[in-house]
Amino acid sequence: MMKKDIFDVSRREFLISGSKAVGLGAGFSLGLYLPLTSQGALASEWDELPSAGDPEVNAWVVIEPDDTVIIRIARSEMGQGTLTGLAQMVAEELECDWSKVITEYPTPGQNLARDKVWGSFSTGGSQGIRGSHLYVRKGGAVARQMLIQAAAEQWEVPESECRVAKSVITHEASGRSTTYGKVAAAAAELFPPEHVELKDPKDWQLIGKPVKRLDTDDKLNGKQVFGADLKLPGMLNAAIKACPVFGGKLASFDDAKTGKMPGVHKVVRVGEDAVAVVADTWWQAKTALDALPIKWDKGANAAVSSASIDKLLEQGLTSSDKVYVGNKQGDVNKAMAGAVKTVEAIYDYPYQNHATMEPMNATARWTREKCEVWCPTQNGEAALEAAAEASGLPISQCDVYKIHLGGGFGRRGAFHDFVKQAVAIAKQFPGKPIKLLWSREEDMTHGHYHPITKCKLTGGLDKKGNLTALHVRISGQSILASVRPNWLAENGADMITFQGFHPDGDHAISYSVPNLLVEHAMRNPHVPPGFWRGVNINQNAIYMECFLDELAHAAGKDPLEFRRKLMADHPKSLAVLNTVADKAGWSKPAGKGIHRGLAVVKTFGSHVAACAEVSVDKKGKLKIHRIVAATDPGYAVNPQQIEAQVEGSFVYGLSALLYGECTIKDGAVEQTNFHNYPSMLMDEMPEVETIVMPSGGFWGGIGEPTIAVAAPAVLNAIYAATGKRIRQFPLKDVDLRATG
């Protein structure tokens, strides 16, 4: 169990140069509550952050004289609710009045200048809460102590005699009280305390409460300014096309006519592989770009197709070349040879696009002295590095102003291609802000795609139907080899490929199989892969959970019982599985024509399970009636937001299952927009019953885990309904009519 955490506080860590919050950037970072006329969002109205000029108690907390508490949030808000959760954690220790809390983003440039006082800005891997809970709570606790000290010094009483609640400090013996807003300026002058003690989780008042999000109001009336909406004085707009074949180059373009089209300022080369039209409005830029004759040097990759990629992966199922081991227990070959029955199956999982609702975009202003970028990003620091790289300026002369994202899903974390492009264009217009917005077509065809893999699974059963051997051979693309080669293991293995199959840790397998071998034959086509909400657990959970279902049926056993037998050493995974089975009524028949399927995983440190109820009519039409989902994230900071994430995860995961596929022709992605890369709609969305069951003692992620159980639970239910085992996705082209 978590004990009270006592921290030593280094002075360096919390000491700031002045007592006023200044220098967070001459630009702005948030559009949440800053003045915004109905005539749009001009930067001149946004020149200051809410905290400007107010006392900064420490890096996390600024308090205005009217007791408004400004909590600094380093991670990005992209819908997942982290902004509110992080604010809850600071406020819990700060003991402030929650109704007076607002938030702001510090800039990554300031983080660098202040020795990374805000820690990591990276918002991925379901890390927002679990990766920073200790230091943000500590930030709140330190600020509280300083505020108390300031009041105690004014009253000349011992700090230990002062009490705080809801931003009010009270000294009962003398009957005096004051508020945070009145002592914040004095507190800001103090050195931080040498030690702070964090609350025991049982004493939490705000953490664990289903409080409302802090960022809703402006999302209801159009006031929320996203990157795509930004307008700066004198700004020009850019539309871009990059070579459709990944790795290809821009050969030439002919701007004789296009350059004279209405509103067009210039047609410019962007890096090696792209061309952009810069115009007064984006619509003018896009219209001109569509009319621009462009020649591409497509290179050798133009010969690649989905069929050639499939052949490459097929070969990896049996090859011994570039094969890495992710988990090995016992002796699979020996056990398989001794098995009474073996079962074998091959699954395929396609490329998929993140398809954020807001297409990629960034606004940049470049001069010889400074480069500034305004953009939606999951990682402000990475965006800053991209800006610096593209600008040719020292990083200390660059900064990034973060804007809430219109969806991230992993696309805007490790990749800032759109930032580099915006800066490359802005360099050709010194002093002028340039807003680069990708068309949906550009976004669909220039993603960093969910990687493609195949998987061959072989299972061995003994005469009692117990699973004695399991061999999993994944063949396909490594994300790390392309994106983070320095994260590969010493032998070259990409351990993230084995999410859900690891022997232990955040992505450990939830079953004990006495003889187990999990391998990855790394096969890397030219299509750029990326971290896609959930990453490799999405397909690995399909492989494992659907194949376990196959094994259960081969053994003549109930899929729940079959799993339970393998889960004695995995009590927390077993608990979520049992919960969904109980709530769904697994032991009793479902309604007429309705069939159930199960799935369970441990991933991103959390344990999640789902039971899906589906029917398939005579024409093969699938209806998903209900899903019961359980999540044990250790601690649940905001249960209603966890419910929202769980529900949303089914939309993302089931959209992928039903429709998600990017195919390759002549080296390029064929899908261009939502008409040929559809997403699930309201009428396909089942009822979801979410059970949040935090068991304490660990911190698991929320934004990604549930996606992994969405597809296998539904697929196992489809099998129950039809007798059909679907092993190729998406389902849109699959005949689901019952066999026989």
């Binding site: 807001e358 219109g406 991230g408 899903f409 309201m682």
Partner: protein, 159 residues
Amino acid sequence: MAKLKINGKLVEIDVDGSTPLLWVLREHLDLTGTKYSCGIGTCGACTVHVDGQAVRSCIVPVSSLDSSREIVTIEALSTDNNHPLQQAWKELDVPQCGYCQPGMIMAAAVLLNNNPEPTDEDIDGNITNICRCGTFNRVRRGIHLAARINKSSNKRGGA
């Protein structure tokens, strides 16, 4: 030159007639609550009201409109975030990233005008906006709640 009536105001905009209404709203009138996402009328993020009907503004050239048509955008749905749908959305914390929500709310507002007490089936049939965050179930509950808010305020108003 396009002459339009937007949020009750007559405006004249010097723009090519083929320009979609979406881009006139966003780039000429700074009404950026109406979002660009697909540009082909598929996702609904650009939904506005034209004469009380939900219209996907990314595929409507301004040349097809004139000042006799009443165009309403999310910015003018209410004066103070107090439309029943906005109240319900707030109560249920419907938005996640929020990018699709203006379109979602505008589509829902037309549904409620035409059908004050829609069933789940009515909602499923009428709200065909894409939301990648996956807010559908809260959207559905939000529409039902807005219908109840409407009903109770109508009762009070009528009494």
